[in-house]
């Protein structure tokens, strides 16, 4: 009889640790706009760098501002509800969407997209996964304790995973630099 309690406790602990905890640790918030990378890539023929561009000084412009979107969507181009809502709620009142950045690094990290993409020849997918072909934006998951996006720890392919899928922690950066025999020092990223 005593073994049953022990096994039940073990199962409860494993369940809590592997299923309930990973679910509870993240706060979930939807992105402000139902945006489809796939539609923009396939129908409009756009490439990643058309919107996520590098500035003249090499710094990364990040998520495009409303001006960029309004260039095409000043008036509806299609018939989708998502586009109609976007124009009504953001373009017409000239209100910037409050995007939540899946890949936002902490304040003490200096990361150069130009160095990695232009000099290193890396593909966007190496860090950001198949974001470019997704049909909608994932719910943004923010760690309730650290405040970091879930994508920093792992790409949320599934709730329970024995193997980490992706991630943008310091260990991931160091691993990649080691694999590619690149120089690494503290001051490379922590200016």
């Amino acid at each position: 009889m005593g073994k049953i309690w022990l096994v039940a406790g073990l199962a409860a602990g494993l369940g809590a640790g592997w299923v309930a905890f990973p679910y509870a640790i993240y706060q979930r918030r939807p992105q402000p706009v139902d945006f489809s990378h796939k539609v923009h890539a396939e129908k409009a023929g756009q490439k990643c760098e058309d919107c996520h561009s590098l500035r003249e000084d090499g710094s990364f412009a990040g998520i495009p501002g409303l001006d960029k979107c309004a260039g095409c969507h000043a008036a509806p181009m299609g018939t989708t509800v998502a586009e109609k809502n976007f124009i009504e709620q953001y373009v017409t009142p000239n209100r910037q969407p409050q995007w939540m950045d899946y890949a936002r690094q902490p304040e003490n990290v200096w990361f150069s997209h130009a160095t990695h993409v232009k000099l290193g020849g890396m593909k966007c997918e190496a860090c950001h996964g198949d974001m470019g072909s997704s049909d909608g934006l994932r719910v943004y998951q923010q760690d309730r304790i650290s405040g970091y996006s879930r994508d920093i720890f792992e790409r949320p392919a599934r709730l329970v995973s024995l193997r980490r899928t992706g991630g943008m922690k310091m260990d991931d950066c160091v691993d990649c630099h080691r694999r590619n025999a690149m120089e690494q020092s503290c001051l490379d990223c922590h200016k």
Partner: protein, 583 residues
């Protein structure tokens, strides 16, 4: 079925083991560590547009050009400016970490401004006719210096005091030198403008005369390990005397003297008040070749005449009723307090305008907080190795906090003069002179000043630009006169920095890596009997402080090498010898 307490314990034990076999506890450790990075009070750089701003560093007289990478309005990293005619793209470790200083935990942020103003006014009213109201300007030649001179000219009993001037009106032209003999000057370790010195280093042979193997001695072509206290004797030997007692063989001295005479143009550097240095330079014809006359940066005629420049040696003992010390401009000469103290009248009011509680703030009646680099807007006079006059501004990259005082505003208010636009007035005076050229940092372009309008010139200066005078072909060679020679101490001060804020990160890197002696550390030869880390007292005729001993075989027996700070200069700066006593 009844559930016993033992069953509950088994369940809890099983659950604990289960949890340990899951990612939860390990993730909680990581999350807690990351959470601690966001605690209140931890500085967070602003998010925003990335931009570059240009300024000039005021941490030392070199005034190197600086490019600040800013996120939003916040500078997050500093670097040199490529192509700059003087700093040549270089920036020293102090300059690279300069943007940390506004956040230094030991920085002064408040002071009794109103009480000081009343106290100074009372002291000025109580002044006897033989007493003075003085400003000590450790970094003369600035526009602020002219403001002090104007104000003190208007104040009854006003006296402007500056440190001893090496070869007044002259500068060193390292580019012209082919052989340089340096008597203890840290030529490759903070002397002059680092980028200019390193660039010129390729073209001259360096002979370092020093008792200890300093970093300059280690990088010199030849190091003459002179016996401590015999430096002047060796200089006299090079000028034709005997080398006996200096620790250097007569034959080697003869060889170096021969090099000076035949491999010129030559330059001899050393303390300005040693007549032997002036004599050596005279013998090797340095005046007009490697030591050149330099005009002063133009000043508006309306500012003339200001109070005369006075050295400490010319100030009568017990004559200062009010002494205001502008210690805010970093990198100035720190004069030992014992030299200043005897000049004060009984009950004198002494006010230090400073950003640090070290330095004169320890001795003054009051310390008032001032803006620090890169908050302060100031100009930087030409460095010792700039053959021509320059004018450049340190722009404000960080907004200064509330409650700070401006020393120039305080002094000009005492005299009732308006100096709020002094920098612009001086820029206009330079523009009116119409000579020289302007280096523009953002574009790297060099433009003749006569082609610029005053507003454009001011704009270029505000964006980190630098005006460079043209050489004066009619200027006679400078006179290498000397003042009264002092003594030579039988111990070595390793770092010549006085009081001033230094980035805590920089100190940690340099001191914990043992690249430099830490604060209150002394280095002794292993034969001294001390062990690494022994606690001891460093004693001179001026007092004692507690120190930690480091054994260093490069320090000759009988020599104490100390890392200078303001308190060590106070202790050692006016002492001929020191001793280390085991505690």
């Amino acid at each position: 079925m009844t559930t016993t307490r033992r069953d509950l314990f088994k369940f809890a034990g099983g659950a604990a083991v289960g949890a340990l076999l899951s990612p939860a506890p390990w993730r909680l450790i990581t999350d807690t560590a990351l959470w601690s990075e966001n605690w209140p009070g931890i500085p967070r750089p602003a998010r925003g547009e990335i931009s570059a701003k240009f300024t000039n560093c005021t941490l030392c007289p070199a005034g190197c050009a600086v490019k600040a990478r800013c996120v939003g309005a916040q500078p997050v990293s500093l670097a040199g400016v490529a192509g700059h005619p003087m700093s040549r793209g270089a920036l020293c470790p102090f300059g690279i970490a300069g943007h940390h200083l506004p956040y230094h935990p030991e920085r002064l942020r408040s002071g009794p401004v109103q009480r000081v103003a009343e106290e100074v006014a009372r002291a000025m009213a109580a002044r006897q006719t033989s007493e003075y109201v003085a400003v000590f300007d450790p970094r003369p030649g600035r526009t602020a210096s002219w403001t002090y001179r104007r104000a003190l000219h208007a104040i009854p009993g006003g006296l402007y005091i500056r440190p001893a001037a090496p070869w007044s009106g002259a500068a060193v032209n390292l580019d012209a030198a082919r052989i340089v003999v340096s008597f203890g000057m840290p030529l490759l370790d903070g002397w002059g403008t680092p980028g200019n010195v390193v660039a010129a280093r390729e073209h001259f042979r360096l002979i370092q005369v020093e008792a200890v193997e300093s970093r300059t001695a280690a990088m010199a072509d030849l190091w003459l390990p002179v016996r401590p206290g015999q430096e002047r004797a060796l200089a006299a030997a090079l000028a034709g005397g005997t080398a006996e007692g200096t620790g250097i063989a007569q034959e080697l001295v003869r060889q170096v003297a021969g090099e000076l005479a035949t491999n010129g143009p030559a330059l001899v550097l050393g303390p300005a008040d040693w007549p032997e240095i002036a004599e050596l330079n005279r013998q090797c014809g340095a005046a007009g070749r490697t030591i050149v006359a330099r005009r002063e940066t133009p000043v508006p005629e309306a500012w003339q005449p200001g109070a005369a420049e006075t050295g400490w040696s010319a100030v009568e003992d017990g004559s200062l009723r009010v002494l205001l010390i502008d210690e805010g401009a970093g990198g100035g000469d720190y004069v030992p307090w014992s030299t200043i103290e005897r000049k004060l009248a009984p009950g004198a009011a002494v006010v230090a305008f400073t950003g640090t509680p070290e330095g004169y703030a320890r001795h003054a009646n009051y310390a008032l907080p001032v803006a620090v680099y890169p908050e302060a807007v100031d100009d930087i006079p030409a460095a010792v190795d700039s053959p021509v006059a320059v004018f450049r501004l340190s722009a404000s990259l960080v907004a200064p906090p509330e409650g700070l005082v401006s020393a120039t505003d305080f002094v000009s208010h005492l005299a009732g003069i308006d100096a709020a636009a002094a920098l612009r007035e001086r820029a206009d005076a330079i523009c009116a002179a119409g000579r020289g050229r302007v280096f523009q940092t953002a574009s790297g372009a060099v433009t003749a000043l006569k082609e610029m309008k005053p507003d454009d010139f001011w704009k270029a200066l505000s964006e980190g630009g630098c005006w460079l005078d043209e050489p004066d072909p009619k200027a006679p060679p400078p006179e290498l006169s000397t003042g009264a020679a002092g003594f030579t101490a039988s111990f070595a001060i390793a770092e010549t920095r006085g009081a001033g804020l230094v980035s805590p990160l920089l100190s940690k890197l340099h001191e914990e890596s043992h690249l430099r002696l830490g604060k209150h550390e002394v280095a002794l030869h292993p034969s001294s009997g001390f062990r690494d880390g022994d606690r001891a007292a460093l004693e001179t005729g001026c007092g004692r402080i507690l120190v930690v001993v480091r054994r260093d075989s490069s320090v000759p027996p009988g020599v104490v090498q100390a890392a200078a700070g303001a308190d060590l200069i106070d202790l050692c700066g006016a002492a001929e010898s020191a001793r280390v006593v085991r505690l």
